[in-house]
Amino acid sequence: MYSVNYHRASSVADAAKLSKKGDAKFLSGGMTLIPAMKTRLAAPSDLVDLTYIAELKGITVSGKTVTIGGATTHAEVAANAKLKSVCPAICHLAAHIGDPHVRHRGTIGGSIANNDPAADYPAALLALSATIVTNKREISADKYFTGLFETALKEGEIVTGVTFTAPAKAGYSKFPNPASRYAMTGVFVAKGKDGVRVAVTGAGEDGVFRSKPIEAALAKKFDAAALEGVSVPSAGLMSDLHASAEYRANLVVVMAKRAVAAANA
């Protein structure tokens, strides 16, 4: 790791101010940034630690409205009883990110700021039609995830939280890469008042995306059987050493079936 200056921010305003130093980066759980710094793929001059900012933490559920603070850990999301009662699918998703140690540190804000094409949360937020709240504005998930490791965030902008309306039904299923546990393909399905939304992670060349053929089939009948014989195009899907685009296209349908079955269970 190259030399770096560490700063512990006491508030969001303080963090925004500190981030103006040199080539500063925010540090949340560090589960992506620190490994990247160790291998010198990232070399910020300054780190602004967000983990001691109380206003960025915690989960509130009021009726069907869910708000999750940006520095809330995966373990906290996985274990939150109130959240589980309105949207168990997102707890299930969080409980299957990486491993217990990663979940104790990694945060939702860090995950969606990074927008790894194989990360789990982007699929949930896109399918749930979530709003990403920053220290400057609110961004709809549809506009937020803009490509591989790309988001609508501007320099120095902090994800303070995410908010969504818990849908009547939701489910998530991923085929984890056997080595990394990241999604080789993960599908989040949600059936809410605006109909059915289906988001796919781990498969798209441009990151998370909505699958229209699957949404159309599930809009007719929200049941795994409705996906019999449905296929999704392999164009635009990733081919790498783990799987070909065709294999991923098949996985999208298989994971969607499992996600719907979980949502209906």
């Binding site: 790791m1 710094m37 160790k38 780190l47 990663v102 540190r105």
Partner: protein, 166 residues
Amino acid sequence: MSDVSLTVNGRKVSASVEDRTLLVHFLRENLGLTGTHVGCDTSQCGACVVHVDGKAVKSCTMLAAQASGSTVVTIEGLADGADLHPVQAAFKENHGLQCGFCTPGMIMSATDMINRHPQGLDEATVRAELEGNICRCTGYHNIVKAILAASEEMSKAGKGKAKKAA
């Protein structure tokens, strides 16, 4: 440089370290606690697992400066004098190690896992919970056996205590 102060295995320690110092290096090099190991560069192997404020974390993926103010327990802090912690005893009893390189991380992960599952553990849960700990020797079988045995032992001990208190 950062001034860091932590409580490690019950002892208050302070030092001035480079900001880039990883917690694992602080433990091993500044404090001489070499029980915590480094087995990879990719945050995947779990040989470095310690407890920070009661939670298992990978000390290779956290700066010492981030941990300042926290309470840390390492493998050296588990035993009660000459009496092994029940998880350590179960690893010994069940031959849960061969070369021993992964063992400190396995044991710190196991104690965290058992603490989070007071209702008890089954084999599938133990295997899923060991996702972040790699062992190149044992094939995991005896590690799983040791954790299940320790979990049972600790819940018996827990019940015993509860009875006494009642």
